[in-house]
C-alpha cells in the first residue's frame, strides 16, 4: 500500500479546472518529485493534499485512509507536514515561536523538546537565531526555518514546495543533504516540487511530470530524466 495515493483528482478554482483526472502514488520511505512548468498545477496538488484547496472529484488517501474531506488540522495530525511555496514563516514572531508553532498538533507537542533538539542539530543556525524575528532572517535561513518548522510535527510525509528558489548553491547543497539524511536516517517520505529538473530527479527515487494539470510522465527518476517526453514538456521540442 502506498503511503500517499491520489486517485482521479479534479481540482478547480471557481469554474476554472486546473487539475484533470490526476492519479499518483508515493511509496513509504521514498523521495518523489513533482515537476512541471510554471502554472502546471504542482502547488495546487500539494495544497489539495493538505486540504488548503478542496478537489472537485477524486480521492486522496494517506496510509490507506481517505483524507480529502478532513479539515487541515486533522490531516496534519495524521502525519503530513507541508512546507509552503515561498517559505511563509511568521515574520513577526521569533524563530523559536515559529518552530513551536510547528509542534502545535498533539503529535508534535508530545515530543516537543526532542524534536526541537533534532531540528537544531539539523540546522545549527536556527539554534543561534532563536530569539530573532523570523522576518529578519536571510532567505536561506528562512527556508531552513520553514523546513524545521515542518519537521517539528514529526511528520511521516514531508511535502516541500520549491525549497531551493532563490538560494545560493551552497545552501541548496546543504538542503539537499538534509533531505537525503531525513530520508535515510528517519525513513521519512518526501514529496518535493521543484523547477530544476535535473537536481530534483537527481535526489529522488521517483518523478512525476505535470503539464497543464495532467500527469504526462511518471516513473523511476532515472528513466524520467532520460525520457524524450521530458524534453518535450520543458523545451517544447523532442
Amino acid at each position: 500500500m502506498p503511503l500517499l495515493e491520489l486517485e482521479a483528482l479534479d481540482v478547480c478554482y471557481g469554474d476554472l479546472q486546473v487539475i484533470w483526472a490526476l492519479s499518483l502514488a508515493v511509496e513509504r520511505g521514498t523521495i518523489a518529485c513533482l515537476l512541471g512548468p510554471n502554472g502546471s498545477g504542482k502547488s495546487t496538488i500539494m495544497n489539495s493534499i493538505t486540504g488548503l484547496v478542496r478537489p472537485r472529484a477524486g480521492a486522496i488517501r494517506f496510509q490507506g485512509e481517505r483524507i480529502d474531506r478532513l479539515p487541515t488540522y486533522e490531516i496534519i495530525e495524521r502525519g503530513i507536514a507541508h512546507v509552503l511555496e515561498r517559505r511563509r514563516v511568521f515574520p513577526f514572531m521569533s524563530v523559536l515561536d515559529n518552530l513551536l508553532l510547528g509542534s502545535f498538533p498533539p503529535r508534535g507537542k508530545a515530543k516537543r523538546s526532542d524534536q526541537l533538539a533534532r531540528v537544531f542539530a539539523l540546522f545549527p543556525v536556527l539554534a543561534q537565531r532563536q530569539a530573532q524575528l523570523a522576518g529578519t532572517l536571510s532567505g536561506g535561513e528562512q527556508q531552513m526555518l520553514a523546513i524545521g518548522r515542518g519537521l517539528m510535527a514529526r511528520p511521516t510525509l514531508l511535502l516541500v514546495d520549491e525549497p531551493f528558489l532563490g538560494l545560493a548553491p551552497v545552501v541548496i547543497r546543504e538542503l539537499l543533504d538534509i533531505f537525503a539524511r531525513l530520508n535515510r536516517e528517519e525513513g521519512m517520505t518526501i514529496l518535493l516540487v521543484e523547477q530544476n529538473v535535473e537536481m530534483a530527479l537527481g535526489m529522488s527515487h521517483r518523478g512525476f511530470v505535470l503539464e497543464s494539470g495532467r500527469l504526462v510522465i511518471q516513473g523511476p527518476a532515472r528513466e524520467v530524466l532520460e525520457s524524450v517526453e521530458l524534453r518535450q514538456v520543458f523545451l517544447g521540442r523532442p
Partner: protein, 290 residues
C-alpha cells in the same frame, strides 16, 4: 495649571483610556485574525451594559459579580455570531462582510429598542458615583473599577497571546492564515476564540458604562466609532497599538477638555487630527504592520 488639576486630568484621562482599551482590543483582535471590520462591535458594549443593568435590576446582582456572568454570556454570544453568521462571509467580498456586521448591529439596536425602549438606563450602586479622595484628586470608585478591570483584562489578553499555545496560534493566524492552517491550527476555533474575546471585552466595557455612565439602545455607535479611531491609530490588528492608542486618546481628550476653553467640544476633533497626522506619517498606524 495647578498640580492638583494636572493629577485630576490624568486620572480622568486614564479612566477614559481604560474604557477605550476594553472596547478596542477586541475589535483589533478580530480584525487582526479575520481581516473583518466588525461594525457590530459597539453593540456588544450596549448588550453588556444592558445585561449588567438587568442582572442588577431584576436579581440585585452587583455589577462586580454580574461581570463574570456578562463575560460568560458575551463569550457565548460572540461564539454564536461567529459560528452562525460571520463564518459564512470570511471568504466573501469586503462589502458583504461590512453589510453583514452592519446588519447585525442594526438588528441588535432595534431589538434593544423593542425590548427595553429608548430610555436611558443606569445602575445605581453605592460605589457608582462615589469617590476616593486622594488629596485634591477625586477618583470615583466606578471609574477606578473601570481602570482596574481594563488593566486586568488587557493583562490577561497579553498573557493569553504571549504565554499560551492558543495565543501563539492566534498571532500566527493573524500573520498568515494559510501557513497557520498547515501548522495544524484549527483556524475556525481560533476565529471563534477571537470573536468571543472581542465580545466579552466589549461586554465588560458595557458593564463599566452601566455603572459609571448609562446605556441606551444606540450607545454602541458611540463606542464603536471611538474604538475604530483607536484601532486605526494604533494600527489595525495590533493589540499593543490599541492599548497605546487608547491611552493617547484618553489622555489627550482629558487634557484638552480640562485645560482649554471650549476644549470639551474640541477634544474629539483633536483626536481626529492626531489620527490624521499619524496616518499621514505612518499610513499603517502607530504599530500596524501592513
Amino acid at each position: 495649571m495647578s498640580l492638583a488639576l494636572l493629577a485630576q486630568a490624568t486620572a480622568n484621562g486614564l479612566s477614559l483610556a481604560g474604557l477605550y482599551a476594553l472596547v478596542s482590543v477586541g475589535l483589533t483582535l478580530v480584525f487582526g485574525v479575520m481581516r473583518i471590520l466588525n461594525f457590530a462591535h459597539g453593540e456588544f458594549v450596549m448588550l453588556g451594559a444592558y445585561a449588567s443593568f438587568w442582572l442588577f435590576t431584576l436579581w440585585g446582582l452587583d455589577p462586580l459579580a454580574s461581570l463574570a456572568v456578562v463575560l460568560v454570556l458575551m463569550t457565548g454570544l460572540g461564539a454564536l455570531i461567529q459560528t452562525t453568521l460571520v463564518k459564512r462571509v470570511l471568504a466573501a467580498p469586503h462589502l458583504n462582510q461590512i453589510l453583514l456586521t452592519f446588519g447585525i448591529a442594526v438588528t441588535f439596536q432595534n431589538l434593544a429598542l423593542l425590548l427595553w425602549t429608548g430610555d436611558l438606563r443606569a445602575i445605581k450602586v453605592w460605589y457608582s458615583a462615589s469617590s476616593l479622595t486622594l488629596g485634591p484628586v477625586s477618583l470615583s470608585l466606578g471609574r477606578t473599577f473601570g481602570i482596574g478591570l481594563a488593566m486586568i483584562l488587557t493583562g490577561l489578553l497579553y498573557l493569553l497571546l504571549f504565554r499560551t499555545e492558543y495565543g501563539r496560534a492566534l498571532r500566527a493566524v493573524a500573520q498568515d492564515p494559510e501557513a497557520a492552517l498547515v501548522m495544524g491550527i484549527p483556524i475556525q476555533r481560533v476565529y471563534i476564540l477571537a470573536m468571543a474575546i472581542g465580545a466579552a471585552y466589549a461586554g465588560a466595557a458595557g458593564v463599566v458604562a452601566s455603572v459609571s455612565m448609562f446605556t441606551y439602545p444606540l450607545i454602541g455607535f458611540l463606542f464603536g466609532l471611538k474604538a475604530f479611531c483607536v484601532v486605526i491609530l494604533g494600527g489595525l490588528g495590533s493589540v499593543f497599538g490599541a492599548t497605546v492608542a487608547s491611552l493617547i486618546l484618553g489622555l489627550v481628550e482629558s487634557f484638552v477638555g480640562t485645560f482649554f476653553a471650549q476644549g470639551s467640544s474640541w477634544a474629539e476633533a483633536i483626536s481626529f487630527v492626531i489620527l490624521l497626522l499619524v496616518l499621514l506619517l505612518r499610513p499603517k498606524g502607530l504599530f500596524g504592520v501592513e
